[in-house]
Every structure is written in structure tokens, then in C-alpha cells.
Amino acid sequence: MSYANKRPGGRIMPARRLTPNVDPEKQFEKISQAIEEIYKHNASQLSFEELYRTAYGLVLSKNGPMLYSGVKQVLETHLKDRMYQDIYPHIEAAGSRPTSASCEALLASVRLLWSEHVTAMLVIKDVLMYVDKVYVKAAQLPTIYEMGMCVFRDQVLLASNQLLNGKVVDAIMFQILQERKSASEVNRDTLRGAVNMMIELQDPRQLRPMYDVYVEERLLAETGVHYAGVARMRISEMGAPEYLRAAQADLDTELERARDYMSPSTTPGLTNAVLENLIQEFTLPILRIPNAGLIEMLHQRDTESLYTLYRLYKPFPSSIQVLRTCIYDHIIGLGKKIMLGVESSSGNAADDGSQKQASDVPGIAARTAMALRWVQEVLSCYDVYDMMLKQSFADDQDMRNTIKDAFIEIINANARAPELLSLFIDDNLKNGLRRKSEQEIDHLLERCVLMFRFLKNKDTFEHYYKLHLAKRLLFGRSLSDDSEQSLVSKLKVECGSQFTLKLEGMFKDMQLSSDVNREMRESGVAADIGFDLNVSVLTPTFWPTMASSGASSGPRVIAQETGTDNSGANSSSNGSGNNGMKAASSGILIPSTAGISTAIEKFTSHYLRFHSGRRLTWQYAMGNADLKVHFRSRTHELNVSTYQMIVLMLFVDGEQDVSLTTEQIHAQTRIPSESLSRHLQSLACGKYRVLIKTPMSREISPSDVFQFNSGFKSPQYRIRIPVISARNNVETEQEKEASQAAIGQERQYVIEAAVVRIMKTRRQMTHEQLVNETVDQLSARFMASPKMIKSGIEKLIDREYLQRSPDDPRLYLYLA
């Protein structure tokens, strides 16, 4: 308020003198009576204004202390009387042998007294609001209402001769236990009222709600005892899914109870008390319940029970840890089982064929099939666990890592994993994708990349992948260029462009080659040749080293020739699509007929015209040719390898009934004898016998004689004569050793390069530091053994990249 000073000379009227001299005791009597009336619900007979004015007068006449203590006394007396009247009988009744009914009666009577007291206090505090506002504030006392609460606490609950407080808590506990055992219906309203009373009242000593001091602690302790008993009983009777469901139901009931008539602050403690006893105490026993434990749940893919399990274990890090260990062990077990399953069926296959012979064709094929099955089974196993991770374990980061670690372990436990994975991909890209939708293909490739990610020896995989990819590309066996590319780009994301550089180079070579071939056809050079020639020009650094490639070094380009040859025993005509890797240095002799040599020369000169300075080395080992061959009964088109073509062409020349021994063929072609016998085998001993061998045995010996089989018959027009081991199979032991050696050599280079890189930046390092750093840097590609690193370091010292510190033999210095 502000005043308008209209009349500057005006006089301020004096305030009336309040409260004429009336006896303060009489004034207080008015209030004391009013309080009794309020308790009796007779407020309507009273004038608020009068009472308020009375209190106002007393406070202003400095009778505040008298008023305050007087009110307190009135309340005390009132409550004491009520105690004797209303509550005492129930204390006696509930005393020795509590029953649900006696507890209910006790709680109900206390609650009634409480609620009436609260109602009365709400009115009294309003009437005495001037006391609160002026006197209580100045004297720093509890407000009238707070004082009323304390009086109730001290006179009713904590009255020294009655021990009511303990009995009330006992009664609450008794009722809760009744409810837990569903022995009898309890009145939740009464309980809620009693609990609220305890929440509202402060304990005089601890200055916390009495609920916290007396009810909550007891509740948690008794809950713990109750569920410890329940758990002991259930664990021997129930399977894990049932046990977990029951535990979850218990927890839900307890929380519902807490929400309904306990303090919200109890919820965390209560959850803990229930789960500690039902779950944490039995972490391992639950998982190991015979015939109905974790393993069974995993087997049955009981995602729902597992989800319950996860949620109940979640609050306890140690339990989750145990769960993770169990899952880990289980997956490892599964991995071993897959391994055993695959091996035992391979054992059977080996028994069918005559014992293990590395070169045994059906044996190898069967082992390859099993290898594929291993990858397939590991991947589908992973699919299952990935599904469970999402559906049961809430995509938990730790759980994901556990599953990942387990799969890393089982995949790397198989030393051939990189090779098998590459084979698996090879098989799928050649055959498997045919019946699959785009989504399935994508999923499959994703999974392959995932397995790749789990591989420790990524460089080994790269080695095999290059080998298999090379065959796919050169034989044109890949079903889908898109899938190939997409896989490589996925690998690139995984391992960086360094890793896929060579793979991409291979694709690029194929692209460039097809450009060159088209160019040649368009320029008319091809027309002179007389058949279709398709050459793959390959950059040697990108491609895996083929067995027969020349040892020449320096910049060179390997040309691969695809062509159509005229050939045949009796006469010849055009075929198409032939592809041969030629090694000039290995000096294979091409028969002069049919213009193949001419074709090669023409291609070479054509190619070098555009790419001068390059060197073409012809590799025949990887090529193939389509031949039209006239047999006595009909003409067939034979799809053969370049070597086979060369051999067959020996029989074209001129006269009928050419007979050549193995030695002669070798002399005339100079095909390496090992390859030669394989190719002769496939021509003379395989399913399609285009040559007749004398004597008729499976093995090829130098003196065997070969003749053209003009009486060859087959229902099909087009025949593919398979070359033994042209398919991608599991490697034989010798091949494996060769691969290992190649990979080992490669690793040695990589290690040395890494060591130099590290030393160049650090200048000096101790042996341990250097080894650790190197292992670390290379871990994305393979696990470098300290031994290899040590030998690498020694070589670098020999070549004076590094030197040992003269002061400290453990220290290496970098020499610029």
C-alpha cells in the first residue's frame, strides 16, 4: 500500500487501543474449550473470528508463551484420555497372540485416532494462525501443527508405559505376512493409514520419519527372511523357467504392495531384499538346475524365460558376470560340438572311400562339403545367439561382448577357419546364391563379414580369398558381380582400403581386359585370328602367385588368353571363349595348328602398341577353351582347359590314329609333368574319355600310350571336362604347407615394415615396448608372435635400419 499525501498538514489518527484489560486466563479458557469442541466436531457452533481475535489479543498482550504451552497441554490431555478409552483395549487383545483380526482392530483404532487428530489439528492451526505468524516465528518453536504431531507421537505411539509403537509395527508386519502367505484378506486401507501415520511422524532422536526407523528396516529384514525360505524350498522343486517366473511374480506383488500402502522410498530396498534372496543367493544353482537350467533354456530358445532371467540378474553385476561366463562356456561347448560333428561325419566319409588319401577326389570333395557345413553351422549358431541377445538380453553391451568373445574363440579354435570361410564364400558366390532373395544374400554376406571380423588371422583369409577369387574370376564362375563387389566393399569398411587394394585390383584387371578384348574385336585384329580370343591381362602384384608362373621379375603383365580353338581329332571348327594363362618363360610349346601361336602374337603386338614398355607373360595354367570336336557318331563341343586343348591338338594333326606316349606328349608340349598327368587323367580316365589310354589304369606312367577315342559317345552336345582339382577345395596337406609358408613370408615383410614405421616415429624403444606396439598395430590383420617380431628386428639390425643402444642392450635406436 502506499498513501496519497493529499493533505500535507493532516494528522494521523491514533490506532485504537486493543484488548481491554480482560484476564488472559479467561481468554485462554475460551480457546481451550473451543479445542474440545473441535475434537467433538462442533466447529459450527464456534465463531472463527472470535477465536482468532482472542488468540490475536493474547499474542499482542505478550501472552504467547502461555497460549502455546496451554494449547499443548490441552492436546496432551485429550490424547491421553483417548488412549485409555479407545486404544488400550486393543493393545490388550493384540498382546500375546496376534491374529489378523486383533491386529486389524488395533491398527484401525490407532488410525482412527490419528485421522481425527490430524483433522482437528488442521482446524486448530487455522484458528491459531496469528500465533504461528507472529509468536511461533519469533520464538523459533515448531508450528502449532507440528507441535500437534509431536504431541500425538509422544502421547500415543511413544507413550512410555504402552510400547504402542512396537505393537503397531508388529501388527503391520503381521498383516503383511498374512497377505504374503495369502492366509487371510487384510484391510489395506487400515494399513495404508497406519503406514502414512508413520511416514508423517518424525522420530525424535533420529530426525527421520518414524517409518524409516521402525517400519522400513523391519520390513526389509523380514522380507529377506521370508524369501530366503521360499527360495530354498523352490530351488529343489522347480525348473529354472518356473523359478524365474515365480520370482518375477513375487517381485511384482511386493512392488505392487509397496506402491499401494508403503512409502515410495521403500521400493529400491524392497526390490533388493526380494532379489537378493531369490536370485543373487542362488545365482549359480538356478542356472544349473538339472534338466531345466540355463542350457535347456538356451537349447529351447526360450527367449521369454531368458529375458526374465536377464532382468532379474541385471541388478547384480556379479550375477550377470556368472551368467555371462556360463553363456560363454556354453557357446564354446557348442563350438566344440560343431567341430566334432563335422569331423565325425568326415570320418564316415573317409571310411566310405578307402582311408585317407590326400589326393582321393571324393574324399576331398566330402571334406570340402564338411568345411562348408562348419561355417554354415557356426553362422547359424551365431544367428541364434544374436537373436537371443536382442530378444532376451536387451542388446546388453556386455552380453554382446561375451557372445562375440565366445564366437571369436570357437572360430579361431579352428586353425583352418580363414580358409574355410573363404571356401564358404566361394561356394555361395558360385552356387549358393542362386535360390536366394536379395535380402538373404545380403544377410549371408553380412554374416560372412562378421565371421571375418572375428578372425584373428585376417591375412590368412586374404591369402585364400585372393586365390579363390582369382579362380572365380578367371573361370567366370561367379554368379553375381554385384555380390562380389558388395562383399569387397564390406571388407573394405571392415579393414580399410589397404586390405582390399589387391582385391579391387583384380576386379579392375578383369574390367580392363574386357575393354582390351572389345577394342581388339572392333579394330579388326580379331577377325584375322579366326576364332574368339579372350585374354585376361593381369597385374601380377594383385593376383595370387599361380603354381606355374614364371620366375621372371621386373615389370610385367601376365596375359591370359581366352580363345576359341579349332581343333578336333578328325577336323575342327569354331568354338568360343577360351582363357589361358601363359608362361613364356616356362616354355610351353603350342602346336602350330589352328593359329593359336599367331593369335598370341597378334594380341601381343596389338596390346603393346597401346601399352608400350610392358611385358606380357603368358600363363596357360588357368585358361580354358571351347573345342568343336568331330567324333565318329556326332560332333561335340568340349569345354576344356588350355592344357587339355594343347594335348588334344597333338591328335588333330594329319593322320588318323596318332598314338603318343606320355613322354612324347611331355616332350611335345613341355607341360610340367605333374599338371600333365592330371590333365591326361581327366581326358582319359574321367567320366568323359576322349582319349584312350593303354593300359587302362587310373595312374599315369611315362610309358602309357594315348589315342584319340573317335568312338566317344555322349547324349549331350556340350560337355565340360573337369580338370581334377580345378574346383576350390580344402587344401591338401602339401598345399596347406605351401600356403602357410607364403603367408609366413608375407607376415615377415609386414612385421618388418611395421617395426620400421614404429621406430621411425619413436626413434628409440625398449624391446618390450616395440614388441607390444607391433602386436598392437598388426592385431587387425593377424596375431604376430613375439618370436617372429624378434627375428624381424634382428634382420633389420643386420640391414642397419636399427641398432642396439651401446648403453642399454634392451634399447633399440632408429638409424635414419
Partner: protein, 110 residues
């Protein structure tokens, strides 16, 4: 007018009656408590209400009509401008009644 539940009668010690809207009267915390109709006990609401709440009439024997009139004006002024942050006009009164007005404000908690 006294029976109209939205209006209440305020009576001064020297017999002047002021009929104001309940929401205006309730700008005073004291009057609000006097007229509180939400009080209830287990026996029903009527028993817990004071005479003033039941009759919608409050008598202030110690406040003169002249002061109570100003108080009513102020209660209206308070209700009108309580929720406005700015542009609140001054509430004017005569200097000579300032002391009595001050005591009434203390008594009525407004």
C-alpha cells in the same frame, strides 16, 4: 444477497455491511480460513465448518466501517492486479487512517 454463495457479507464493528464477492474476500488469508467450506471430518462437512462459513457472514467488532470500506477496496484492488507484473496503479488512501489500516492488514493477513 447473503444467501448467494458467491457473495459474502463483511460487517464492521459500528454496523456497516459490505457485500463482496467471495473471491475478493478470500484475498485475505484470515477471511479465507474463516469462510473455508472444504473442512470436513469423518462426521461430514457441516460439523467442521465454523459459523462464518455456514452463514457467509463475518463480523469484525474491532474494525470500524470507515476502515473496513478501505479494506474491501484494497481486497478488490489486490485481486485485480495480483497477477500483473507491471503497470499497477498506486492504491491511494488518506494518511490519517494509515495506522488503523495497517493494523487491519496485520489482523486480516492481506
Amino acid at each position: 444477497m447473503a444467501t448467494d454463495s458467491t457473495a459474502v457479507r463483511l460487517v464492521s464493528g459500528d454496523g456497516f455491511s459490505f457485500i463482496v464477492d467471495r473471491s475478493v474476500a478470500e484475498q485475505s488469508a484470515t477471511i479465507r480460513n474463516m469462510l473455508d467450506m472444504t473442512r470436513s471430518t469423518s462426521l461430514g462437512s457441516g460439523a467442521a465448518m465454523f459459523t462464518e462459513a455456514l452463514t457467509s457472514e463475518v463480523t469484525f467488532p474491532e474494525i470500524k466501517g470507515k476502515i473496513l470500506e478501505k479494506v474491501c477496496q484494497y481486497l478488490l484492488y489486490k485481486k485485480r492486479f495480483a497477477n500483473e507484473g507491471e503497470n499497477i496503479p498506486e492504491f491511494g488512501f488518506d494518511l490519517e487512517i494509515s495506522l488503523e489500516l495497517l493494523m487491519a492488514a496485520d489482523y486480516l493477513d492481506c
